[in-house]
Symmetry: C2
Subunit: 433 residues, 2 copies
C-alpha cells in the first residue's frame, strides 16, 4: 500500500464533499486500488471553512495556497476554488512545481486550455478534470478513453443543472422564467447572481472542454454561439409540447464537412428522446461516433457528493500512476491533434429548422404577409398554429419551419418585426430531431 | 511515436470490425495517443475469414493461435473467438507468456474470473475486457475508474440486445414470443440456437462480471438467479402497459444489508423510466452509488463497429501503458477486495412486488379464493384487473401485489395452481420501481 499526499485548495461545498469521501470511503478505495489517499493539507481564505475540517495532528490548515503547494511532501493538488483568477495562478504554479493537479474548474480550463496543458507537458505532470463537465458523469473519460478510437460526429449535452431545473419547473407548472428562477435561488440551485448559468455561458465553457477533447483543437469561448433561457416563455413550452417537443438548453457540437458547429441555445427536442426526459438538476450527454453510433451518459450534474465522486476518481487515477509508474508523466495527453484544420461554421451559415412565435394584431392578411416574407427568404413552413382568434387583439402565431439558413431567417425576422401588425420581437427557438 | 504489435485471434464479425477500425482510424488514434497500432498477425480456423483480411507483406496469417501468441514481437493479444474453450487456453497461455490480453469473452470471464486474473497478476500483464459487457458502452471503465470512489448499491442492466429486440417487437406489434424470435433470427440478431440469449444466461454472465468488479468478490454463474423471456406473452406486455409499466429482461444486482441479490428475469419497469425506453438491440446500465446517486449509460450493445470501438479502446489503454511505462504491469487491478463477506441472498428470501396472471374459469368465488390464498401467505394485493367476463370460459385475472417474500409467493402460487378452476400455470413477473 502506497500513501499519496493530497493538498485541497478550496473548502467549499465540493471541497467538503471531497474531505468526507476520503474519510468515509478511503478504506474501500485503498482495498480496490492499492493506494492510500492522505489529505495532507487544506487551504481556504475562510477560517470557518478551514475549521469545518476535522482536526488531525498531521493535517495542515492554511490560508496560503502557495505555501501549501510548495511543500515537498505534496503529490497532488486539488483546485476547487472556481473562476479564472486566482485559480489559474494556483494551477500553473502547482504544475510548474511538479505537482499533479485535479480541478473541476470549467471557466479556467475553457479560458486557458493550451497554457495549462503546456505547463503540465513541460513539467511531466498529470492534470485531470472529470468534474469540470457533467458532475458525476464520467464523460471526460468516455471521450478520452472509451470512445478514443472514434471520429466524434456530434455532441448534444444538457450540461447545466440550474437551467434544466428552471425549464423543468416552467414546463411542469406553466410558470414564467422569473418565478422558476426565484424558486431555484431559494433552493440554492441558482446563485444570487445567476448570470453565468442562465446566460448559457457555463454550458458554453463545458461544451468548449468536450469539443477541444473530442476534436483535438483549441476553441475559445467566443467561438461558441451562446444564447440563454430568459427569453423562453411558458407559452412556448406549451406550444412545443403540443407538437411533441420539449424545450431544453442544449450544448451542441457538430463535426460537419463544412466545419465545426458550436452552439448553446434553447432547443426543441422530440419528447420521445431521452434528452427530453432529463429532469431537474440532472445532466446528460449524447454523443455520436463513427463506430459507437449514438451513446448517452446520464447522471447528477452537480452537488457535493456527485462532484466529489469525480474529483476523487481523478485523484485515484493519478495516485495509481504516481505510486506504480513513477513521479513523472512520460506521455502527456495530446490535446491538440487535429489535422483537418476545419474552421468554425459562422452561425449565419448553419441550416436548421425553427420554432417561431409571432405576436400579431389579428387582422386579415397578416399570416399571408409573414408567410410570403419567409418564402421570399427561402424559408418553407412545416406547420402553423394560430389560436384564440380575437379580431383586433394581439395573438400568437406559431410556425415550425423546415430547415433554413440562419442568416436568411434572421433577415426575414428583422423585416417581419418591422410590420405594423407585428407587436414585440418574434421568439425564435431552434429545433433538432 | 511507438509501434505496438497486435495479434488478433478470431476473425469473425467483430474481428473484422477491429481490423477495419485499426485501418481506418489508426492515424487518428496515433495522433491522439502517441501510439501506432500495428496488426502483426491474424488467426482463424476458417481460411475464408483469413483471406478477408487485406494482404500486407508484414501480416502473418495463420490457423495456429499458439504459434502466433508465442512470437516475441507480439505485445497484445486480442481474443475474439468467444465461448469458454479453447478461448481459455489461448488467454491463459498468452498471459503466462507475458502477452497482454484484450477480450470480449463474457462466458470465459464469468466462468474463470479468478484464474485469469491470477495469471495476469503472476506475469505482470494487463487484461482488459470493456467489450464483454454492453458493447460500445464504457461500463467497465465506469465501474473501475469513474465510480471507483463509490460504494455501489444497485445495478440494473439491459445487457442483451437480442432479448430486448424481441421484447420491443412483441410490445410494438402485439406479437407472440416465437414469432418475434423468428424475425430476430431472420435479421441475424438472434442465433440459430438462441438458447444462451433467450434463457437469460448471456445477461447473467455479464451481470456476474459487473458485480465482481463492483463488489470485489468472486461470483459463480450459478449464484445468479436466471429466468428467460420465453414465458412472457403479448397479453402480459399489454396489461403491464395499462398499469404504466414496460416488461424488460433486467439484470439486477443489489448490495443490501442482508447480502447480495443477483438476478436476471423479465421485470415490470415504470414506463417513464429511461430503462423502459431502451428499444431494439440497444443496451443500458443504470447504477446507483453512495456518491453519484443514479447514473445511466446507454448505447449500442452489439454489432461489429460498436464492439470494435470498445476492443480497440482497450488495446489503446494497454498500448499507452506499455509504450510509456514499460512492458510489465506493476500493479494489477485488485479484483478481489471485499471485506464484508456478505452472502448471496437466496431467491426465496428476497422481497419484491409481483405481477401475477391467473388463467381461471370464471365462476363466482374464484377471485375470492385466490385472494384469500395470497392473504394466507402474507401477500397483499395492490391492484386487480379481470377483463372479458364470459361465464364458464377461461379468462385472465391479473393482480399486482405489494412487496412480498418470494418464498411465500411461490407457496401461494403452487397451491393456487392446484385449484380446479385455475387452468395452466400462473404467470409470475417481478416488478421494480
Amino acid at each position: 500500500m502506497k500513501d499519496i499526499n493530497i493538498a485541497l485548495i478550496g473548502v467549499g461545498t465540493i471541497g467538503k464533499g471531497v474531505v468526507e469521501t476520503i474519510s468515509s470511503n478511503g478504506q474501500l478505495i485503498a482495498d480496490r486500488t492499492g493506494v492510500n489517499l492522505v489529505l495532507r493539507g487544506v487551504c481556504d481564505r475562510d477560517k470557518e471553512a478551514l475549521a469545518s475540517v476535522d482536526d488531525d495532528a498531521a493535517l495542515i490548515k492554511t490560508s496560503s495556497a502557495s505555501e501549501l503547494i510548495a511543500r515537498d511532501d505534496i503529490d497532488i493538488v486539488i483546485e476547487l476554488i472556481g473562476g479564472v483568477n486566482p485559480a489559474k495562478e494556483i494551477v500553473l504554479s502547482a504544475l510548474r512545481g511538479g505537482k499533479h493537479v485535479v480541478t473541476a474548474n470549467k471557466a479556467l480550463l475553457s479560458n486557458s486550455w493550451e497554457e495549462i496543458f503546456a505547463a503540465a507537458s513541460d513539467s511531466g505532470t498529470y492534470i485531470n478534470f472529470e468534474a469540470s463537465v457533467g458532475g458525476a458523469i464520467p464523460v471526460i473519460r468516455a471521450i478520452k478513453e472509451g470512445f478514443v478510437a472514434n471520429k466524434i460526429k456530434t455532441i448534444y449535452g444538457i450540461l447545466n443543472g440550474t437551467t434544466n431545473f428552471i425549464l423543468t419547473k416552467m414546463a411542469a407548472e406553466g410558470m414564467p422564467f422569473k418565478e422558476a428562477l426565484a424558486i431555484a435561488q431559494e433552493k440554492g440551485i441558482a446563485e444570487r447572481n445567476p448570470e453565468l448559468d442562465v446566460s448559457g455561458k457555463d454550458s458554453a465553457h463545458k461544451l468548449s472542454i468536450l469539443s477541444m477533447l473530442a476534436f483535438g483543437r483549441v476553441i475559445s469561448n467566443d467561438e461558441v454561439y451562446t444564447e440563454g433561457i430568459s427569453g423562453v416563455s411558458p407559452i412556448d413550452i406549451a406550444c412545443a409540447a403540443k407538437w411533441g417537443y420539449s424545450i431544453k438548453l442544449l450544448a451542441i457540437a457538430k463535426n460537419s464537412p463544412s466545419g465545426l458547429q458550436l452552439r448553446v441555445h434553447p432547443t426543441l427536442v422530440p419528447s420521445s428522446h431521452i434528452l427530453a426526459n432529463v429532469r431537474g438538476e440532472d445532466n446528460a450527454i449524447s454523443m455520436r461516433g463513427d463506430l459507437v453510433g449514438e451513446s448517452l451518459l446520464y447522471g447528477k450534474g452537480a452537488g457535493a457528493r456527485p462532484t466529489a465522486s469525480s474529483v476523487v476518481s481523478d485523484v485515484i487515477d493519478i495516485a495509481r500512476r504516481v505510486a506504480f509508474y513513477g513521479k513523472k508523466n512520460p506521455a502527456p495527453y495530446n490535446v491538440v491533434h487535429d489535422r483537418s484544420r476545419k474552421g468554425i461554421v459562422p452561425m449565419e451559415d448553419i441550416t436548421i429548422s425553427y420554432y417561431l412565435r409571432f405576436s400579431v394584431t389579428d387582422r386579415p392578411g397578416v399570416l399571408a404577409r409573414i408567410a410570403s416574407m419567409l418564402a421570399d427568404n427561402g424559408i418553407s413552413i412545416a406547420s402553423v398554429s394560430q389560436e384564440e382568434r380575437k379580431e383586433g387583439q394581439t395573438v400568437p402565431v406559431i410556425i415550425l419551419t423546415h430547415k433554413a439558413r440562419e442568416g436568411d431567417l434572421r433577415k426575414a425576422i428583422a423585416k417581419i418585426d418591422d410590420f405594423d401588425l407585428v407587436k414585440g420581437r418574434t421568439v425564435v427557438i431552434r429545433r433538432e430531431e
